[in-house]
């Protein structure tokens, strides 16, 4: 089960990372993009937020990927699917953070002669990402628990290992309680780490809550 934890952590980190690198440009596109781009993004977000995780896992693992002739391991597919879903949710966290910044920040950057791209990279994102950390920690705890569903693809994560042992030993109570405890520990460790990060990058002069 400890090995399972490592697989779980792998899936969650992969998903969070993919969600981050896709979620940021998606959020930027949705806030600053042309109407056509915004429409495409809206469909993307609707798709990945609207379909249950289990359906998407099967759809990709047994449907899309074989159709494309790709034979990826269950671990990879689980990370990608969770990552795509997370990118949809994370994009909304970032979008909210960007929109919460005063309009004057972008104006002041433009007034200096910055291109919009430079203004977004140097002025908007450094502030928006800081504001995103609390929402991000929420997203982490959700993905962590969603990762249990990837057991259905046979990813050897906590839930799969627990189930495997439980069917052999019949020690259901103690085993699933342990699994629950592992998730609790991982949630605590992750949110605590993000809390420390939040404090570390806090802009001096702003109150912490």
């Amino acid at each position: 089960m400890v090995e399972g934890s490592i697989v779980t952590i792998g899936v969650v980190f992969g998903a969070m990372f993919l969600g981050l690198i896709l979620g940021v440009p998606i959020a930027i596109g949705q806030v600053y993009g042309k109407p056509f781009l915004r429409k495409i993004i809206a469909v993307y977000v609707w798709f990945f937020r609207g379909i249950p995780l289990l359906v998407l896992l099967f759809l990709f693992y047994f449907g899309f990927l074989p159709l494309l002739g790709l034979n990826l391991p269950a671990f990879t597919v689980a990370s990608i699917v969770l990552g795509l879903i997370s990118s949809a949710y994370q994009s909304q966290i970032f979008r909210g953070a960007i929109l919460s910044l005063p309009e004057g920040q972008l104006k002041a950057a433009r007034a200096l002669g910055m291109s919009d791209f430079s203004a977004i990279c140097n002025i908007i994102l450094p502030q928006a990402l800081r504001l995103s950390i609390p929402g991000w920690s929420n997203e982490y705890s959700i993905i962590l628990k969603d990762s249990a569903v990837t057991y259905a693809l046979g990813v050897p994560e906590i839930m799969a290992r627990t189930h495997f042992v439980a069917t052999r030993t019949y020690e259901h109570l103690i085993l699933y309680a342990t699994a629950g405890l592992l998730y609790l520990i991982l949630t605590f460790a992750g949110t605590k780490a993000l809390r420390i990060l939040e404090e570390k990058v806090r802009i001096p002069g702003y109150a912490t809550r």
Partner: protein
């Protein structure tokens, strides 16, 4: 002041929001070293006009000339280069909240002018000194008073070596006791020969530093001329009533 060609000229700038006309064909020009002050009631279009001049708000029609060159705001490169030469001071400062005072001043040099970080910081420090804030270089905006923030924002604009500065009610968001320090900095700029267009309600200050006062209302220029003329013997009745109202509110000693 001088008979040279105008450094900044705007021609027939108009702007509508929906069906509401904010600016109706505004034209004006400023020569090098001149200070012109925009006055007028809230909603007159002063802010929108200033923001149209450096295309933070896109005017519907009209032309802007810097040094005799018409600016094509559709060409991004040209627009960005133009904006570097036009310093902008906002009513609510708009300092970058995640950067120290020094970084606020140097970021334009580093990211826009592509100057080396060490040189940029040196230059930024000079500008902070000029506004009397070198001791606060490493503080963040949230740790500064309103007056200090506005002075940082002036330093930020100055660091870019602007040819013209646009000031949008630079003291309106400040507590009364902080207005003086900002006005002092602006007065120094006037004396150093900076070319400026400033919207303000500080009539006394305007009278002291302006080469010309421009009275705006409902998106048009009602009257313009030397301060003595506009403030003491305005031809237009609306200018007159505005000046006397301002006089009451701010307790200026105009009459």
């Amino acid at each position: 002041m001088t008979n040279r060609d105008p450094i900044l000229k705007i021609e027939n700038i108009s702007k509508k929001y929906g069906s509401k006309e904010i600016l109706r064909s505004i034209s004006l020009e400023i020569k090098k070293g001149e200070t012109k002050v925009l006055i007028g009631p809230s909603g007159a279009g002063k802010s929108t006009l200033l923001q149209c001049i450096n295309f933070l708000v896109m005017p519907d029609t009209g032309k802007v000339y810097l040094d005799g060159r018409c600016i094509n705001s559709r060409k991004k490169k040209e627009l960005y280069t133009y904006r570097q030469q036009v310093g902008m001071i906002f009513q609510d400062f708009n300092l970058f909240d995640h950067l120290t005072a020094l970084e606020n001043v140097s970021i334009g040099l580093i990211r826009v002018k592509k100057i080396k970080r060490s040189e940029a910081n040196e230059r930024a420090m000079q500008e902070l000194k000029r506004v009397g804030l070198e001791e606060h270089a490493n503080k963040y905006p949230a740790q500064l008073s309103g007056g200090q923030k506005q002075r940082v924002s002036i330093a930020r604009a100055l660091a870019m070596d602007p040819k013209v500065m646009l000031l949008d009610e630079p003291t309106s968001a400040l507590d009364p006791e902080l207005v003086g320090e900002v006005l002092n900095v602006i007065r120094n700029l006037v004396e150093s020969g900076m070319t400026m267009l400033m919207a303000t309600h500080q009539i006394n200050f305007a009278a002291a530093v302006a080469d010309e006062i421009i009275f705006m209302e409902n998106g048009t220029i009602i009257e313009h001329g030397p301060p003595q003329e506009i403030l003491f013997k305005p031809k237009n009745s609306r200018t007159k009533s505005f000046c006397s109202k301002i006089n009451e509110i701010y307790g200026d000693m105009l009459t």
